[in-house]
Symmetry: C2
Subunit: 270 residues, 2 copies
């Protein structure tokens, strides 16, 4: 079995060629009938563009192939993609991952899956090569995407809440970092509060682990999914507006935790 | 040294009398000149009423006594109380605690302190009998109260964010408890998300560990402290309104995590 790889920016795929992978000429060329294709792309339209159409991977994987879709996209997009695959005779597995690139490299991702059981059984051992913990949410194709969006929303909400709390703390003359440290050692002794807590407390949002602009994309997906589900979620709107304010202030290359700086602007804290 | 105890409801102090404590006739009678008084009361006015005045503990502790104030009250109240003590020649140490009653019984509280260094040194060994972790925030009397309010606000904000996320999850046909479990095992592996995550996911808010009505009092203190500090914190307003909606629906005896039920009402989820 040969591994075929493709990236819009050819230089990014090159290192894999050095390890024996074949550079494909197009995204479609990564797919062979009955094979497996993994995709990890920046947004919904990018995934749709490589799946659909005559040269799309849905058709090229058929019959019997599986598309493992690891991007953070909306559940309704996953449902459309799954339908396209079904029409062509291939399968679609949503498998968004939680964790930064360095965790993927270490095989430490948390991976959420949804899709046809048979297809998940087939690709499971491959996902386990990058995933430390696997969580399955059944056959409905969009389910794993909803869970991933819920997780990203909770991270952003935690950043916002810390930004608010630490602003109140700072205005009272108290060391923000001491408070972040205490919380990270006690009630909130979890990776999100420890890592982002230190960034928010120290007002340090570069280098970007995940850019503010991509964070906004995710919050847009959260709000769209919530709208489709008829669930009004006010905190997501607050967070999205913080992100927009951050972009207004030219912070698009900063980490998405820079949404916390918008809180400081609001309180006229330097 | 005799321990004198007082509770508005005499029967609550009785068990301590069985262990050798002396039942005081009034809150003021717990104080002797140069002694130490610990208070743990429901709200700011209750603390002020026992500190101030001719029979108040500020005067009775003087000269040289220390008032250790463990209640969750506003920082401006602590500043007024500290000034009263200083006027009388006694000292005031704010030392609010994080943790439910069973953690206090086990000596497992997290205790935040602020106040005069000498007074804190004197009462430190006594606080360590109920506290597992001690965090000091300097001499400004209100500082520890700000930190405690920030912590309670962050807990309430986490409950709200989970309520929003789980509503979106449920409307997409996904098991809320499975998602709460995943989050509590991965990104949010901390007591707040594990404990309240299960309650919110299961929609189980009785018995109350901390009543919704008291939660509202704390959010009022948070918003007041934020207003005094000129820090607009929108999430606190959202959370407070959820609590008010919960009281409107007759949930005042439920745990404060029942604020999550207001989110379900909003989304017309049973």
């Amino acid at each position: 079995v040969k591994l075929r790889v493709f990236n819009r920016t050819a230089s990014k795929a090159q290192p894999l060629a050095g390890q024996g992978a074949v550079l494909a000429n197009s995204s479609g060329d990564t797919a062979v009938a009955g094979g497996i294709v993994f995709t990890m792309l920046a947004h919904d339209a990018a995934v749709e563009s490589i799946v659909m159409g005559d040269q799309g991977i849905a058709r090229r994987l058929a019959p019997g192939g599986v598309h493992v879709s690891m991007s953070t996209i909306g559940p309704s997009t996953s449902r459309r993609l799954a339908a396209s695959h079904t029409q062509c005779g291939s399968s679609y597995v949503a498998s968004p991952a939680l964790g930064r690139p360095h965790r993927a490299a270490a095989g430490q991702l948390v991976i959420c899956t949804s899709g046809p059981a048979e297809a998940k059984d087939r690709v499971g051992p491959l996902l386990e090569m990058v995933g430390r913990q696997m969580y399955d949410y059944g056959e409905e194709p969009g389910a794993a995407n909803v869970v991933k969006l819920a997780a990203n929303f909770l991270i952003a909400a935690a950043i916002e809440a810390m930004a608010e709390a630490f602003a109140m703390v700072e205005r009272n003359g108290i060391d923000r970092r001491k408070v972040a440290g205490m919380l990270g050692e006690t009630l909130f002794a979890a990776p999100v509060y420890q890592g982002y807590g230190e960034m928010v407390a120290a007002k340090r949002h570069t280098p970007a682990g995940f850019k503010l602009k991509l964070g906004l994309k995710d919050l847009d997906l959260v709000l769209k999914a919530a709208e489709e589900a008829r669930v009004p979620i006010p905190t997501a709107s607050v967070v999205r507006d913080r992100m927009l304010a951050g972009l207004a202030h030219g912070r698009e290359a900063m980490d998405w935790s820079a949404l916390a700086l918008s809180m400081l602007d609001d309180a006229a804290i330097k």
